[in-house]
Amino acid sequence: MNIFERIQQLDRRWIYIVVALAIALPLAFPFNSDNITSPPTENLYQFIDSFAGRPDRAILLSFYHDASTMPELFPMEVAILRHCFERNIKVFTLTWLPSAGPIIDYAINTVKEDYPNIKSGVDYCNFGYIPASLAMPTVLGMGDNIAASVKTDAEGRKLENLEIMKGITNYSEMNLVIEFSGSSAGGMWLFYARPKFGLNIAVGVTAVMAADEYPYLQTGQFIGMLAGLKGAAEYEKLTDVFGAYREPGTPLDLGVDEDGNKIPHGRSFSSDILRDESIQKYLNITPQHIAKFKPKEYQQFVDKHPEKKAIFDSLKEEKDGMIEIDVTKVTEAQKDELGYVAFNDLNRLTYNIPYKFKVARIGMNAQSVAHIMIIVFIVLGNIGYFIQKARQAKQQ
């Protein structure tokens, strides 16, 4: 048996081993890579962002999938929830599947850990599981009155009594639905809610289903789409660059203005900022633990925390004209002395992204390697096939 025949008859278990390594190694050892954002993702981000800080606008997330498609869809859900919590956007959630009920709780809890001021019934509201047989009447009913159609949230509270419902009546206010699905997404909203009420719809789908949704994107029936892990990675990036952006020294928590309205932090979407190389420091997915300052920046930073200057000075090191502070070297006693605000202000300048907010980007590293591997497999398989075919023709 020559080498080409061997290639053709390679035992599939070798292929499985290569696949396992190609996926596992990039997940275990992340490296920095940049995901270029696509128009469907940018459009969705901008649409959601246009609701920032508005009490009369809200979005609805429909979790229409079970746990099997979570690796692709869950990072999208987390990224969008994070964007909404960062930018003070009201969020509603529901599902038509009983098995997706816990996914909603899991997603909200995952994001909420980092936002202690976000409250159920005020900033977000989970309608919970609504049986699929009630999907059509619910979708249509919400077009007239959400509180009359859904009545209670997942915790059994009457919607009409919840603070989040102030200023929210129907699709005129809850003007965007995003459905996450492992199969065809958005159908119910598209067929019933959009023609009758003009509801805006977007979808988050697994990569294999993305091609099916392009006709609706082209007609404008879907205002945006997150396609597979790539879409999730792009949304994570946009949230890091814009939604989670803070000018050094600004408060971490959601602020409140003189009238009691919440101030959305972050900054608005801009293509120019996306193209700027300076954003790279917000995108590193490898662990970051050193806060770097130019001397002038350091002075501005400590001026915001004058009573902590001595501690910062004891922590700083000078390297190549830059001042660096390694947050891993801050002892527990020093953390206590600095306090929550000053330490987190410092920690924020390391630009270290928590794992849960960069899962999709780490996954895209694995997907990069896996795609290259599959292409190599296809090429090798075809080379072997044609050489073998040529030899057979020669022999005949």
Binding site: I15, V18, V19, I36, A211, P215, Q218, G381
Partner: protein
């Protein structure tokens, strides 16, 4: 009579819903929809779940009783069903309870594992079966390679034009094919619906 009454229900139901969609009058919107239909729909939904649970339980009970092939696995259905139901009913479904623990540590990883097996089959199929045997297969193969490369960060490093070429493949040939299929399915659905509503198509009633 056994066929006439269901037929009348289907035809009347179809016409009522058509009227509801096209006539925005309060008789249809409020009296019919909110006061009549919604309470009935809410009342019916739990019966569907009860019916499902009964049907599934009866199927697995029969399987165990008849010692049908792989009947032992039916015990896992009952164990899983009872344990999950009890965990939810007794401890609640919120974070910190047994139900949520079971979801996070059992349901999620097991479901994800099953789905992730696709990657292995796809890689194996790509190697063993994806051959440029004809001109059409070669076009498909090249399109697949371009789209796969453009989907990942490394593709953009290879060529900055790849994402645009990939987007063109998705926006033009893919879109044309998908739209053709969808129009066909849509027209077929309308035709079948009309046949059912007019009583021409009656196979759903059983018999000939």
């Amino acid at each position: 009579m056994k066929k006439t009454i269901p037929l009348i229900i289907v035809i009347a139901g179809g016409i009522v819903w058509l009227l509801w969609v096209f006539i925005p009058h309060r008789v249809m919107a409020d009296d019919f929809y909110y006061k009549f239909y919604m309470p009935w729909a809410r009342a019916m939904a739990p019966f569907a779940i009860i019916l499902g649970v009964f049907s599934l339980s009866m199927m697995h009970t029969a399987k165990i009783r008849r010692r049908a092939p792989k009947w032992q696995y039916s015990y896992f259905f009952f164990a899983g069903f009872i344990a999950t139901s009890l965990a939810g009913f007794i401890g609640g479904t919120q974070k910190g309870g047994l139900y949520m623990w079971m979801f996070e540590n059992m349901a999620m990883p097991m479901s994800a594992t099953m789905f992730s097996l696709l990657a292995f089959y796809m890689a194996s199929a790509a190697y063993k079966a994806f051959r440029a045997r004809s001109a059409e297969a070669t076009v498909l193969l090249l399109a697949a390679i371009v789209v796969m490369l453009a989907q990942v960060p490394i593709g953009v490093k290879i060529s900055k034009y790849l994402p645009n070429i990939s987007q063109w493949i998705l926006d033009v040939p893919n879109l044309a094919a998908k739209r053709g299929i969808m129009l066909g399915v849509g027209l077929g659905s309308v035709a079948t619906t009309l046949k059912i509503m007019l009583g021409i198509e009656r196979s759903y009633l059983g018999g000939d």
